[in-house]
Symmetry: C2
Subunit: 214 residues, 2 copies
């Protein structure tokens, strides 16, 4: 049963792990597994078993002592805990190569996150169609976001235009931003920002490989 624990502070890193647990549970479910204990689940997620149990107790008691966790119902509980068991309309700012490939991403078919608007300030791009969505002038963000009750914006502009895109999104009333542009952005504290730059992971690999050699 999902019981939000309003009192405890939940580490952000636990949230990130819940996403991993969910991914692994989904593949277990596909394989027909119905019940799993924390130990093998931990192995599959590459974490400690009590880590999993502790992360889950932030949100409730989902297991059965002596038995384990029901795969399907744990998936449902985690989805509810994360808040992803409902539609999340999003808007995309930036209709370049990156933006275009984001629109086509499988995740938007498989999850309840949807791109409902594509914006760009380039007059050459405005009016173009991407996967059934017309590219609209960034000036019109506010009306669209209000109309469609959008809370999350995705920035896929070149770095020098990221801050401007963020400003538009913020003044349109957005609550969260996923920023693919390789640039830091400044927003009021009530707006949540997540940065995605996979070259940082390549840097991390380069570092690890370089230092393994010693």
């Amino acid at each position: 049963m999902y019981t939000d624990n309003k009192n405890k502070h939940i580490p952000k890193i636990s949230i990130q792990r819940l996403a991993v647990y969910l991914q692994v549970l989904e593949s277990l479910d596909v394989d027909g597994v119905e019940v799993i204990t924390s130990e093998p689940l931990a192995k599959a997620c590459d974490v400690n078993a009590s880590q999993i149990r502790k992360d889950l107790t932030y949100f409730g008691e989902f297991g059965v002592r002596g038995v384990g966790y029901n795969v399907k119902s744990l998936m449902a509980s985690i989805s509810e805990a994360l808040g992803i068991n409902r539609e999340w309309p999003t808007v995309l700012v930036g209709a370049g190569n990156l933006g275009r490939s984001l629109v086509g991403h499988n995740g938007f078919k498989q999850t309840r996150f949807k791109i409902v608007g594509v914006f760009d300030c380039d007059p050459f791009k405005i009016g173009e169609e991407i996967a059934g969505l017309e590219v609209v002038c960034t000036q019109r963000l506010k009306e669209k976001i209000a109309d469609l009750k959008v809370e999350i914006g995705i920035i896929a502009t070149p770095p020098e235009r990221a801050q401007r895109a963020a400003n538009h999104l913020v003044s349109a009333g957005i609550k969260g931003i996923l920023n693919f542009a390789p640039a830091r952005i400044f927003v009021p504290t009530y707006v949540n920002v997540e940065y995605v730059d996979y070259f940082h992971y390549l840097y991390s690999l380069a570092f690890q490989i370089t230092h393994d050699k010693r």
Copy 2:
């Protein structure tokens, strides 16, 4: 001066922050800033100033007391510390939509990471050309990796084929894997793996927005 400190353990999270510092320094450099102190740099990176100073001392003493850090030389020192001040040839496994858009990513023009080979096991894709690279059968990974001294492999296959791609890469002698497939992979401990799934960031935003409302 870069001085590798072989004795100290360097937290992985420090490495990730170094990538952020580098990004911010690059944009300061573009703006013509020559010297910066830890305080404003920290603000721009959204971290604590002593965090930066501590992270940097894992690798040496780069600042001048009473003055600050020279932007250009700090960039060079961080690049050296991360090990990204040299060419890093990589191979891509998976020539679908995702793979295609990775090949075109700007980062491969702006950094010294390069994709030097594209592999797929789909006979329909083999022989195709992507940005000047011929798609080659995955069976031929080993020779290519040996020939071109490739140490990093990028997996951009569907999730069900990720493990097979990883196995091929490992037996070809790869040392690090960047995995874009939404699936966990199992590799020997001497192989480093980084996972990229930006839907996890959307989950995190959804969680934060859901809980902000209280």
